[in-house]
Symmetry: C2
Subunit: 197 residues, 2 copies
């Protein structure tokens, strides 16, 4: 392995190969051997970057979260200065749903990861921390919106946060073509409409 | 295989073994060989009942849906005659979340099934039909509640149905211990409170 190959770059290339395996072939095909093959490297090379399947999966999930955050950040930039919290939530929720190719890859990765977390203590702890952190960011936004008078003071921030995150439950309906992307956005807007004053 | 062993019974026993594999070991371990082992039969015997992994998985999912419907039915019986549609929805949604052992098994089965459906055309079609059917039942209930004046006439039945089904999105929060069962029920109640007049 030439030294000039950046370690982080190579790990991201492997993570993307892992996503492709999850997206196209399913989590049941997710072995280090299959990911190495998809990434076009040997199993030995893969093991140089990730000591275990769990370590590889955890990195791929962290990278998926980062990519989602980046997309959300780009969406927020388009909203201009001091965007309304309703628009911030709309952009955030939309990027968490499989509404376009990039979001679909990270959404499938995330679903596979939660299932894996149920049977792997290390993955579980990391998945839990990630979800706690994401949930805290949304709750902070809700609390601030209440403080700023955008959301009624009678609303419970914790419950509203859980209801907002629950909107990712539209995912199976979208993935199986039971509803269209437009239906999901309409549902999100209807929910936000009632949350905000 | 003795003739007196009821075919359906044996298939249900295998389906339960499959659930246990999904629940305890994860979908990545879900092979016909592992399920046969868990069910305490030979791979040949398993293949007598299911010609393929897809067929086995589809039956296990149908059986999980049936079991969920049974639990919902039992919950509705406890509500007595002519229950309020809000209570019907509350019982239905609560049984779709992993709030107790039986519901957890069927919920994990369902999550694994959706992921599998993305990579298997036959599974996908069956999963889609199941979801369309379930969604139609909820929408019919919403439409009837609007007709009976329980839900405002300004509400769009399709959107309200999607928002109700989205509440299953609380599942990862519950599975990873980010929220407690009581928090999920509070969120469901808050949502229903605003849906009904």
């Amino acid at each position: 392995m030439p030294k000039q190959v950046d370690h982080r770059d190579r790990r991201e290339t492997i993570a993307r190969a892992l996503w492709r395996v999850v997206e196209r072939r399913g989590v049941s095909q997710l072995t280090m051997r299959v990911v190495a093959q998809e990434a076009g490297i040997s199993l030995g090379q893969l093991q140089h970057y990730f000591a275990s399947r769990s370590a590889m999966l955890s990195f791929a999930m962290d990278f998926a979260s980062e990519q989602t955050s980046l997309r959300v950040g780009q969406g927020l930039t388009r909203l201009g200065d001091r965007p309304h919290p309703r628009d911030v939530l709309r952009v955030t929720l939309a990027e968490m749903l499989p509404l376009h190719a990039d979001a679909r890859a990270t959404s499938r990765m995330s679903a596979a990861y939660v299932l894996e977390a149920l049977h792997d203590e290390a993955v579980r702890e990391q998945a839990r921390r990630g979800l706690v952190r994401g949930r805290a960011l949304v709750e902070e936004l809700v609390r601030q919106a209440i403080a700023d008078g955008h959301i009624g003071p009678d609303r419970d921030p914790a419950t509203e946060t859980n209801l907002l995150l629950a909107l990712t439950g539209l995912t199976p309906l979208l993935e199986l073509g039971v509803i269209e992307p437009g239906d999901a956005l309409t549902a999100i807007d209807a929910h936000l409409e009632r949350l905000f004053r």
